[in-house]
Amino acid sequence: MIVGLFGVALVVAGLVWAVTGLHSFGAEHSRYGYYTAHRAVPQRQTTNSVVAVAFDYRAFDTLGEEFILFISVVGVVILLRGLRGEREERPEEELVPEQRRSSESERWLGVALIAPVTILAAYIVTHGQLTPGGGFQGGVILMGAIAFVFLGGEWLILLRLRRGARWAEIADAAGAAGFAMVGFGGLIGLGAFFANFIPSGTAGSLLSGGMIPLANLAVGVEVAGATLTVLSELLDQRLLSGR
């Protein structure tokens, strides 16, 4: 323990020494950041230069992050689903009493909030290139919207919709693959991975930024599917599969 504390003190001391060599807070701007911010609108016609950096100029880094997300979710599924297979399977009728346990107001609020939150998620995903937002934030909000279905107690409908289909995992995989496909589209269309091969449009309109709306959509679908898979594994009730 003493050794651990000494190690922590050493690390913090090193970090403090390092950051005192940085420029004074708010004094300078980095050239790369300045250049990117002022080129994003003329070149790509996106008003949100952060999304332009994340999904166009540095789309390769975002691809890496997406796959980190995908692999973590695969890890969660392997760990927790193997766990559930060790016990006996619970019959589906046993799941119904859960629905009666939540109160009336909880169910009404849950059902009432599904549509507005879904629309909010769709708005944030599609307007990523115009205003703050994008695929990552919108995907988590979409997960929240579907979690409201569970809160409203209507998830039996989802169970009966498609037996054997695992919506959340399919969405997760489709989103990850979709994002990689956008990169390949750049390779096929313009000869460089993640080159922006779709015409840019005009700044301020919904279909601006070339491939950025597509990339946003793919990321939104993936993040929603990934967080839903994690949630359903933790909830131990296979929310969106039909088995």
Partner: protein, 93 residues
Amino acid sequence: MSALLAVELTLVAAAGLVVVMIREPARQAVALGVFGLLLALLFFSVQAPDVALSEIVVGSVALPAMLFLAIAKIGAQGARAEERAREAEEERD
């Protein structure tokens, strides 16, 4: 650096300390939610709205949900294990 930024940075540092000092997981998850909110305020003041939106969404929707579900699941596992141990003992007697 404005006074608002200084206050927010101090609040974030204090909230970080509180999160580490609380040992009980369920209470710590609530403290983590508050920490996330204070972080999001700081991100807004540093003129980073995308990051603040991300932090709000993750820190109030995804992270507390996962943490509380995990805590509940561990509690249920512990209760089931105790039950099985008790049944095994009763069988022996």
